[in-house]
């Protein structure tokens, strides 16, 4: 699959990574090269194969749905670049 500049800009918008105009062309070439390379998987007949969903052959354990940790607001906010009155703060979203 060859990606063009517009496709790269779209993917970058989905990934929330701002790219400069001059980055688009080289990235389109690099990503296209990688995608073309991984497309060799098309050669493999996977007709009746179920996709792997668990690395180790085990079922995930169940536990009671109860709070086992918490009440650590200050710990959690300590690393926030911006916070106020016990909240994370961001630019105004609702006018």
């Amino acid at each position: 699959m060859a990606l063009d500049k517009a496709a790269v800009a779209h993917i970058a918008a989905l990934a929330r990574i701002r790219l400069r105009e001059e980055e688009l062309e080289p990235l389109a070439a690099e990503l296209s090269q990688i995608l073309t390379w991984v497309e060799q998987l098309a050669e493999v007949d996977t007709g009746d194969v179920a996709p792997m969903t668990s690395v180790a052959a085990m079922t995930l354990p169940m536990r009671e749905d109860e709070v086992t940790d918490g009440d650590r607001r200050d710990d959690i906010l300590k690393n926030a670049p911006h916070s106020a009155r016990g909240f994370f703060t961001v630019p105004k979203v609702v006018e």
């Binding site: 990934a15 090269q33 998987l41 050669e43 085990m58 994370f88």
Partner: protein, 493 residues
């Protein structure tokens, strides 16, 4: 005092128990070695004060006869493990200033076993790489150089800081993580031992996530016995990681019986890929001969899907990475770059915070998971992954473990393979299939390349059979008798 840094981990443990030296003395020797090793840039953060405090506590327990298994053993921690109150970077600018309010399960277990934290080691940004050159904190240098050639070499990656520190005797052991080879390949490049356990053997809780179904925390040390001792402390079920295995942890050091008689050792014929360098092939055959001499039986096996492993990996790993790295938004922790709107904050923070390789993988991952492409890429790759796991399962019906080269080359110069992502990815051709199948594997130094650099061989085992992997690795290590030293040694005579 630097003589103390000559001891292996097992010797240091026994010397501490016999009161030949104190944990504080051993720790001071390693703090000095860590400082001397600064030109390698193996550590991002040194924590000598924490080390001295932990060593004093170890000495108190040793004096009371209450020694724990790793009391007084100074180790380094890959800076991908969260350490409470200690800067944790994942070698990324986006985690700028992040001091975790919690401790990873694996490091918590190590400290509870008495180990002493020297510091946090360098890595490829978010563990994405095979050279430790993508770190925001500058590349780590391999303590080895080619004889007669002064160019600095990569230590491999992504656990390159841990491997360089252990090889230069600037730590007695270290933690690493292995998503596609990131413990074993740097161990091979630095002439030391690195073990990727079975998926689920060591908890991933508190390890900065790259690709959750492929990430494996594990130990790096100077020899197989030391590796077994570290694994013992790191392994075990953890309620905080639902994928950690509810299985008892065997005694790994006890598994080193030196007896491999009757074991069947598989040599996967597809690993003899076109263009495998002759010296790697020769080393591999020599390894098989050593094991035959020790009474094991090498047999050829087939893993037909091997050639598709890298392509499957470079869909699955970026897909999981793009999802895991969505959490870096400039709001909760780390770097924040100002923007007019919330979306601006996200986009400019991530643009400035992520390096080129991380961006590349997040973009690839976003693409292969996006509407209309999911089936063709991600689902296809997970099907191929199931076939790869099936290959290994079939092989293990015939053999007890596999022997293979760890990497297709010795260490390369810093700056090489930078302009071609796929050339860099090919470093992991022999290690990636094992991550896809979640199996345990250890890399052991087995010889020198023609230009005088270490080369490793890996032993791959059945799921949760680290014991056989270690037992065979130990016999291989004895036969290889690898006593060569890097040109730069921080903690040695």
């Amino acid at each position: 005092m630097t003589e103390l840094a000559e001891f292996t981990l097992a010797e240091a443990r026994d010397g501490l128990a016999a009161k030949q030296f104190s944990a504080c003395e051993l720790t001071e020797a390693y703090i000095a070695a860590m400082e001397k090793a600064r030109p390698l840039n193996a550590y991002i953060t040194e924590t000598p004060d924490i080390a001295r405090d932990m060593a004093a506590q170890s000495d108190a327990r040793l004096a009371k006869g209450e020694a724990r298994p790793l009391d007084g053993i100074p180790i380094a921690v890959k800076d991908l493990f969260c350490t409470k109150g200690v800067l944790t970077t994942a070698a990324s600018h986006i985690l700028n200033g992040f001091h975790p309010p919690y401790e990873s399960t694996v490091t918590e277990k190590l400290w509870r076993a008495g180990a002493v934290m020297l510091g946090k080691t360098n890595l490829d940004e978010f563990a994405m790489g095979s050279s430790t050159t993508t770190s925001h904190y500058k590349p780590t240098e391999n303590p080895w150089r080619r004889p007669g050639d002064n160019r600095p070499l990569v230590p491999g990656g992504s656990s390159g800081g841990s491997a360089a520190a252990v090889a230069a005797h600037a730590a007695l052991g270290a933690t690493g993580t292995d998503t596609g080879g990131s413990i074993r390949q740097p161990a091979s490049f630095c002439g030391i031992v690195g073990l990727k356990p079975t998926y689920g053997r060591c908890s991933r809780w508190g390890v900065v996530a790259y690709a959750s179904s492929l990430d494996h925390p594990g130990p790096i040390a100077r020899n197989v016995r030391d590796t077994a001792i570290l694994l013992q402390a790191m392994a075990g079920n953890d309620a905080k990681d639902s994928t950690s295995a509810p299985l008892p942890v065997p005694d790994f050091e006890q598994a080193l019986t030196g007896d491999v008689r009757g074991l069947r050792i598989g040599l996967p014929k597809e690993y003899r890929a076109d263009g495998m360098p002759a010296e790697i092939e020769t080393l591999w055959q020599r390894g098989a001969a050593w094991l035959r001499d020790a009474g094991a039986e090498p047999v050829e096996v087939s893993l037909p899907m091997t050639k598709y492993a890298l392509a499957a990996y470079y869909i699955i790993a970026p897909a999981e990475a793009s999802s895991n790295l969505a959490r870096y938004d400039g709001v909760k922790y780390g770097l924040r770059v100002a923007g007019d709107t919330l979306d601006d904050v996200y986009e400019v923070t991530r643009a400035e915070g992520f390096g080129a390789e991380v961006k590349r993988r997040v973009l690839i991952g976003t693409y292969v998971l996006s509407a209309g492409y999911y089936d063709a890429y991600y689902l296809k790759a997970q099907k191929v992954r199931a076939l790869i796991a099936r290959d290994f399962a079939a092989a293990f019906e015939k053999v007890d473990c596999l022997l293979a080269p760890t990497a297709p080359s010795a260490a390369f110069a810093i700056g090489d393979k930078q302009d071609d992502p796929i050339a860099m990815y090919l470093n992991d051709v022999f290690t990636v299939p094992i991550n896809l199948a979640g199996l345990p594997a250890v890399s052991v130094p087995a010889g020198l390349s023609a230009d005088g650099l270490p080369l490793g061989l890996q032993i791959i085992g059945r799921a949760f059979d680290e014991e056989t992997v270690l037992r065979v690795g130990d016999v291989l290590e004895r036969a290889a008798h690898f006593t060569h030293r890097p040109s730069f040694m921080a903690g040695a005579r």
